[in-house]
């Protein structure tokens, strides 16, 4: 006769067990699969994201080291080349910070095509091609239709605002002889220039004598006023050197993906690549538009000198490059060469500090720092929610095993009685639970990397400009997670069944003996005791006796409430933050951004002409390097200077000499009230003490009124305006009228952005959309957690009491009377769990948001009272519904159960 192995018979038992209680095991399988999908998926997402960033650096041959100097010096370049000595590769470019399409941008001018930090994907405008040296490449994000922030068109115009003021300041430090000498050397090289100038009635000696005494500092205002001469100006032209910036026109020849442009957010700088040939066309066209005759000639001579460029490039159809590099880019094959060369450069500039501006590794560059933060966040995100799910899965392992043990109690006793070893009994239960967990892991590890990076990738596509996704499977972490999950589930299962396996066979086959002691009854002899009071007593004693299960219910409900409080709390925090900023800093109907600045009077007079406009407040809004004077630490931040008209209702009250900094910016800069800060505004170095720190959600940086004493003595031009419209006009009408007015104006700069209060709030909401995705996920998690864990635990409680329920049915108790005991137990535990969960909600909210910091905002943590009420209500309702559903199973409990043998 063929002998069946215990293993084969157990396998059959396992199969039949799973088949008969498939719904319960399905819950375990699904929750396990979701936990693993999320964990492995988010890990895969973080790895994929990191890989994409590293690919962007690799494809674009991003520089490992960036050296920036003030001006090009040939000897210095030669020295650098000799130091480099084939240790690595070098490329150079002229880089300058300015504004394009209202966004702070770097203009990087290359001689020919860039070799280092080069675009790795280019889409050319019609009629342009790769070999073209006269290129102007912008990031995809600046293009209309490619990104919410994009306004430019492929093949269209780009106006790059070059902040002249900053450079004029530097220029004023040059001594006259340097300019004279440079000019003289050119005149000697190109004698026709002098002839031309003389022919035009320009006496250079006379001009220079007007600018300064020989050997002294140049008279800056005299230099500017030189170009005020009417005979210097072209028809319709103006002295552009008196403006804040030179607006250089370029034709956008292509859209690119560039390793320094991986971040697309509005507050992140973008690099625009321009060929020197394009610059050679742009600058003369700007000068020719505004100057004529001697003015044009002189400007063509002085501007290159001013930037230390090659004058000859603008004359004689020369092939010479106009720009000279101020930035050196290096790549290295190994870090040793990089370190050696970096050390050499540092020693060199320690000895020759005059022309040194900065030396930074790639990871120290602003574009890389923010990416590092984002990559870190993507990884941190992995550990927040999946762990909640793992905890839920564990809870379900415990409850499922609990039910299994209850059901199999007699079977365990019988198996022991017939001599089946304990390890085989452990093996039986462990096989069921671990088998299901293993299948869940398998599914999760396949689905996670397939689903999660693709879904989050859609969001990343809006936030980053990266090479195509190549899904990375996080092998080591995934295997480790699988192992840990199996181990923990195994231990949990073992602990759940241990008590019953260790009992003697006879004990296993008897009902469990409660370990509680009753107090002397105080019930009156005659008084009839209420059914519900006794139900409550039964429920209470059940909770005490089955404290492990009670604790699990408590953990389940506390977890659900905590997640709900967190989910709704995140929305509260954002809602509160937006309202806080809108009320305190942005109480205007519209915020306008112009392509370039205009004077206060021009702007206000123009806008007040528009019938819908009621109130106008021009303000300066500039992203500037601000220095903590004490520590010399500098951080780039937004400096806002409202003109603060007396009747303005737009901004919070600002005293004449107040200078506030936001809490976030104060922390970043390391300053406190009373500390001195300094920044350069319109070419003027400004130092002033901080008078206050304010809380803000997105409105970070520094704010001070135009009337501040430190700002006096300069005239400012404004490219930002707050506008309030009359209540008799709708928002749409107001916006239309403002846009029409700017479109028909020939004198004012063009209007780039007209943001209404609603669109501003919408923009913030868009930025926060990834956080909203998270809040919805949190809420779904909470509901799943509540439904699955409460149902499982209530079912466990129900099954444990099947016999009691059957007995009560035989005794004639109604469904409602029987369910009251179950309900009492569940709702009492839910009540305590909800209270615990509400307490944990706030710290968890902070933990979640800390792991998901958005660079632009500082969360002003807030949970509204009704959020607690909602969380309380939802958890209670779910608990009630779960018990209600179960109560309908009461009539289905066969009364014959009560007649069954227990011994």
């Amino acid at each position: 006769m063929k002998k069946n192995s215990t293993f084969a018979l157990f396998s059959k038992m396992i199969y039949r067990e799973v088949k008969s209680s498939w719904l319960q095991f399905l819950a375990l399988f699904l929750i396990g699969a979701v936990a693993v999908t999320l964990f492995v998926g988010l890990l895969s997402n973080a790895s994929t994201f990191e890989y994409q960033v590293s690919r962007a650096y690799e494809y674009g041959n991003c520089a490992d080291l960036f050296l920036t100097t003030y001006r090009y010096q040939e000897e210095e370049e030669n020295e650098i080349i000799s130091m480099l000595n084939e240790k690595g590769e070098m490329d150079t470019r002229f880089e300058i910070l300015g504004t394009a399409s209202g966004k702070n941008s770097y203009l990087a001018v290359h001689h020919g095509l860039p070799q280092i930090s080069a675009p790795y994907q280019v889409e050319y405008a019609e009629g342009y091609q790769e070999e073209e040296e006269k290129y102007c490449l912008v990031d995809y994000s600046l293009l209309e239709g490619r990104n919410e922030l994009g306004t430019l068109k492929l093949g269209g115009e780009l106006e790059f605002e070059l902040p002249l003021a900053t450079y004029l300041e530097a220029f004023s430090n040059l001594d006259l002889s340097a300019i004279q000498n440079t000019l003289q050397s050119y005149l000697e090289e190109y004698p026709f220039l002098e002839l031309l100038l003389t022919g035009m009635g320009v006496d250079l000696d006379d001009i220079f004598s007007q600018l300064a005494e020989e050997g002294t500092e140049i008279d800056f205002s005299a230099l500017l006023s030189l170009f005020d001469r009417e005979d210097f100006l072209a028809s319709g032209g103006k002295n552009i050197f008196r403006e804040n910036s030179l607006v250089l026109p370029f034709t956008i020849t292509g859209a690119m993906k560039h390793p320094e442009n991986v971040q697309l957010s509005a507050y992140q700088m973008t690099t625009i690549l321009v060929g020197d040939a394009a610059m050679k066309e742009s600058l003369p066209s700007l000068l020719e538009e505004n100057f004529t005759g001697a003015g044009l000639l002189l400007s063509k001579v002085l501007v290159p000198i001013f930037f230390n460029w090659d004058i000859s490039a603008l004359f004689l159809s020369s092939n010479a490059y106009l720009t000279t590099p101020n930035q050196y880019l290096f790549t290295f094959d190994n870090s040793q060469n990089l370190d050696t060369f970096r050390g050499d450069l540092q020693s060199y500039f320690d000895k020759n500090p005059d022309n040194f501006y900065s030396l930074s590794l790639r990871e120290e560059m602003p574009f890389a720092i923010t990416m590092e933060n984002d990559m870190q966040q993507a990884r941190q995100f992995t550990f927040v929610f999946p762990f909640v799910f793992f905890a839920v899965a564990l809870l379900i392992v415990l409850t499922t095993t609990g039910q299994l043990v209850i059901k199999s109690r007699i079977a365990i006793g019988t198996m022991k009685a017939i001599g089946i070893p304990k390890r085989a009994i452990y093996g039986y239960f462990l096989s069921i639970v671990l088998g299901i967990i293993f299948l869940a892991i398998l599914l999760g590890e396949i689905l996670g990397p397939l689903i999660v990076p693709s879904i989050l990738g859609l969001k990343y596509d809006l936030l980053y400009s990266l090479p195509a996704r190549v899904i990375i499977f996080p092998t080591l972490e995934a295997l480790l997670a699988a192992f840990l999950f199996l181990l923990i589930a195994g231990v949990a299962t073992y602990l759940m069944i241990r008590r019953d396996v260790l009992l003697s066979p006879a004990e296993s086959m008897r009902p469990r003996v409660p370990k509680i002691k009753a107090k002397k009854t105080l019930l009156s002899k005659k008084k009839k005791t209420g059914t519900y009071l006794l139900s409550f007593k039964m429920a209470f004693r059940n909770m005490r006796m089955e404290w492990v299960r009670s604790l699990m219910t408590l953990v389940g409900t506390a977890g659900c409430t905590m997640l709900l409080v967190t989910g709704f709390g995140i929305e509260d925090t954002i809602h509160y933050g937006v309202n806080h900023d809108m009320t305190n800093f942005y109480d205007a109907d519209f915020s306008l951004t112009l392509a370039s600045g205009a004077s206060f009077n021009t702007l206000t007079a123009f806008l007040e002409e528009i019938p819908a406009v009621e109130e106008v407040e021009p303000y300066l809004s500039l992203s500037l390097p601000v220095e903590n004077v004490e520590s010399s630490y500098t951080q780039e931040m937004e400096v806002r200077v409202p003109s603060k008209r007396e009747d303005s209702t737009i901004l919070l009250p600002l005293e004449e000499d107040s200078c506030f900094i936001s809490q976030k910016s104060a922390r970043e800069l390391g300053v406190n009230v009373g500390d001195m800060i300094s920044f350069s505004l319109e070419g003027k170095e400004i130092s002033l003490p901080l008078t206050g720190i304010y809380q803000s959600f997105v409105f970070h940086g520094i704010i001070l009124p135009l009337s501040h004493p430190a700002l006096q003595g300069s005239s400012y031009s404004f490219s930002n305006v707050w506008v309030n419209i009359s209540s008799s006009y709708s928002e749409e009408e107001g916006e239309e009228m403002i846009e029409e007015a700017f479109a028909s104006s020939e004198t004012l700069p063009s209007l780039i952005v007209c943001n209404s209060r609603a669109t501003y709030a919408q923009t913030i909401n868009d930025i926060m959309s990834s956080v909203y995705v998270m809040t919805n996920a949190v809420k779904v998690f909470a509901a799943i957690l509540a439904i699955v864990s409460l149902y499982n635990l209530a079912l466990l409680s129900f099954k444990e009491r099947t016999r009691d329920i059957a007995t009560l049915r035989v005794l004639g108790f109604s469904r409602r009377e029987i369910s009251s005991s179950l309900l009492w137990e569940s709702l009492s535990l839910t009540f305590v769990g909800v209270l615990v969960g509400m307490g944990l909600g706030y710290p968890f909210l902070i933990a979640v948001l800390s792991a998901n910091q958005v660079a632009l905002v500082e969360y002003l943590y807030m949970i509204y009272p009704w959020t607690f009420l909602i969380a309380f209500g939802i958890t209670f309702l779910l608990s009630f519904v779960v018990n209600l559903i179960l109560s309908f199973r009461i009539p289905k409990v066969p009364m014959m159960e009560s007649l069954k043998s227990v011994e």
């Binding site: 003996v513 009753a518 009854t521 005791t529 059914t531 004639g812 108790f813 009377e817 009364m895 007649l899």
Partner: protein, 234 residues
Amino acid sequence: MNILEAKELSKIYHQGEENETRALDKVSFCLTPGTFTVVLGASGAGKSTLLNLLGGMDVATSGHLFCEGKDITAYKEKELSFYRREEVGFVFQFYNLMEKLTAYENVALAASIAKNPLDPKEVLEKVGLAERQDHFPSALSGGEQQRVAIARAIVKNPTFLLCDEPTGALDSKTGGQIISLLTSIAHEENKTVVVVTHNSLIAECAEHLLRLRDGKLEEDILISSPKSPEEINW
């Protein structure tokens, strides 16, 4: 007047199928108040089926069962529940006490749903458990637990007591005491007590014996002078 009257009561499982089982076949009998009735039969005789029908836990396939003149075979689930609550005092073989309630509370629980209950304390005194009323079932012996179960059954002041192998889980001496208690309840409280059992010793105490065999009522006899439980060597 009859307390219970069964008229051609039948229960057929899997009717019309190949494995049709006639568990109870046209059984008719009458039970009068204050009688100690024993339903006797071997395994498979139809005892449990009859118990289920008498207890309102199952419905007959055909025939009628009258309780105080009302046909309970026509009852819906809700009416059956009310019937179980008001008319039947059920005593289980394995006591089926609520583990988390004390002896007193178990009795009080049953009293709490009854229309005209007796005083739980008095009932517990009657079954000899006044001193043990604050103990949980787990702290009581089998016999004590069964006494609590009997107290729980009679506290509702039901029309009749239905006992399913009430001594089945007890030693013979304790079993005898329980039967003694049940007979005294039948006589002193004038309650009809129906004991369903396979134990022929209990049948010796019966005033009314119903013997079942293969689903049929084989014997329905009234015994004028049954043995007292004390006379029987349990």
